[in-house]
Symmetry: C2
Subunit: 152 residues, 2 copies
DNA sequence: TCAAGCTTGATGCAATTGCATCTATTGCCT
DNA sequence: AGGCAATAGATGCAATTGCATCAAGCTTGA
């Protein structure tokens, strides 16, 4: 657990599992969405944050903080969401540079449809594989790996 | 028996942690490689498999099985690796369609250099954050999520 | 033997990502 | 106020990815 240049076999194995499993699960969820004719996961992430933010909306830089997307990525993703009528861009009164992004009713509906599929994937891929205690344990362990780490 | 198959809060949290942490850690490792002027992680994955395979090399479809990359992705990645002289493509005697990919000495050297940086990232990002027992536990839990699941 | 179908790997084209840079504001400091 | 760095967001261009399809070789079965 002390920091070294070379990783322990246990650390390597945990890393490998983490990378492989996360990629595999993400692809499964992505595939389910596509099979249902729905947008990709990235859209869900943004719509989810905006739905939670409510009518006040969020600034693009706030979305960047919450989602880990790169700035240019958010910029273009929002352009696509707006083109599809799922969000709207509003000017900000006290900052001429910025804008506020607000989810539209159509955006909420799309999010709802996506969750029906996405949530089922989560239930099947994770919920059905581990017990409640195990799920809590894996969350706690992964929380330690986060930056900044969370304890809960 | 109309199941809604809605995921439990614990499952949702575990999923969210898994997705966020894996992305964050992957980006950190990727960043470290780039800062060292080295190729991206995907190259390492392939070079690693080929190095383990030894002089006999591997067929592209075997790399696909081992790495989870898409077929077109491997095809183009191998083209780039070959262009850089890190691997060589050899014809296969008993199958005129196929080829065998073998790592070159330069490829082994590049892999070694990448490991110096990549391994350090793993040690810092994972090895330094959890104890040996915790690492074993997270590996076991993630192993249950794999498809097919592994028990170890 | 040979047509039909499967496997292996490549590729044209469109969409997305990454990088660098650009514009427009804002805030700070003198 | 004026100059200057910092912030917010967009965008041109190159590289990569995803999708669909292709070509070549192998295999099978009548």
């Amino acid at each position: 657990m002390t920091e070294k240049a070379a990783p322990s076999p246990e650390a390597i194995k945990a890393w490998a599992r983490l990378m492989r499993v996360s990629r595999q699960l993400m692809e499964s969820a992505e595939e389910a969405l596509k099979a249902a004719g729905l947008p990709p996961l990235a859209w869900y992430d943004v719509l989810h944050e905006l739905a939670e933010a409510g009518e006040g909306g969020l600034r693009p830089f706030q979305l960047i903080e919450r989602t880990l997307f790169a700035q240019y990525n958010i910029s273009r993703l929002l352009a696509r969401l707006e083109a599809d009528g799922l969000v709207e861009k509003l000017p900000v009164a006290d900052d001429g540079r910025g804008q506020t992004i607000r989810i539209t009713p159509k955006g909420r509906e799309t999010r709802r449809q996506m969750w029906a599929v996405y949530g089922r994937s989560i239930a099947e891929l994770v919920g059905a594989k581990l017990s409640g205690d195990e799920l809590i344990m894996v969350s706690a362990l992964l929380g330690q790996l986060r930056h900044p780490p969370v304890v809960d």
